[in-house]
């Protein structure tokens, strides 16, 4: 907004009407998912540093790789990786949801709700399944 747009001819600041923002609206699943889609996207962006670290460590040598594994295998490392797994699946299914809507389909209110519920629950299930399988591959059971 430029400085002149909110001034009257006398140079006084004009009180512009504000459009309603998120604290005004009743929360809906769709708006919650819209915010989460952006939040997970930004988190995944930052998390690529972990991917770089993992790849660089593997390319550097056993000591560098052991350091990465030590950090990634710690409880906080696992927590971050668990969150990253969920963020990836959540963002992926958020994207699939948008692909469906891009075709012009699924805009009936009931369809919107069911697609949104699916895009919420499926990523959680896939995250849990992935981690159960990961622990199985680690020989936890």
């Amino acid at each position: 907004m430029s400085d002149t747009a909110d001034k009257t001819v006398n140079g006084e600041t004009r009180q512009r009407p504000l459009s309603p923002h998120i604290q005004i609206y009743r929360w809906t699943l769709t708006m919650f998912l819209s915010i989460l889609h952006r939040a997970t996207g930004v988190a995944l962006y930052a998390g690529t540093l972990l991917l770089v670290w993992w790849l660089m460590a593997a390319a550097t040598g056993p000591e560098a790789f052991a350091l990465f594994q030590g950090v990634a295998g710690s409880w906080i490392g696992r927590l971050v990786l668990f969150g990253y797994t969920w963020a990836l699946f959540h963002h992926m299914f958020g994207g699939i949801k948008h692909f469906i809507w891009d075709t012009g389909a699924g805009f009936e209110l009931s369809a919107v709700e069911w697609i949104s519920r699916g895009a919420t629950v499926i990523p959680i299930l896939l995250t849990l399944i992935s981690w159960v399988l990961a622990y199985k591959f680690m020989g936890a059971f």
Partner: protein
Amino acid sequence: MSEMRTPLSRVRGLGSAKKGTEHFWLQRVTALANIPLAVFFVSAMVAHAGADYVTVTAFLSRPIVALVMLLLIFSMVWHMRLGLQVVIEDYIHGHMAKLLALILNTFFALAVGTSSVLAILKLTLA
């Protein structure tokens, strides 16, 4: 018709640059590519949970794995740069701050991309 702007107008870069459709399209194309690539990546991570150095490097050095990892890096980095560009444009309004953030976004994406590619090439070509 696309060159109706004066040279000065284009240099200033204010207003719509008429790149919206291209941005939208590339964002969708990379998103589509990311689905199978990310499924491969998560599956590979799960299958190698707790795996030692020799196992992981042997896996990453296989040409087909290196190829898919390179595709993943390209598509993912491109997608995330487009995505954060929108976030920056939505929330940062100062001209210089926005310009700086957009440039840093490009630098970050390139740094992530090139370092990942370097690591993958070193592993697979060694």
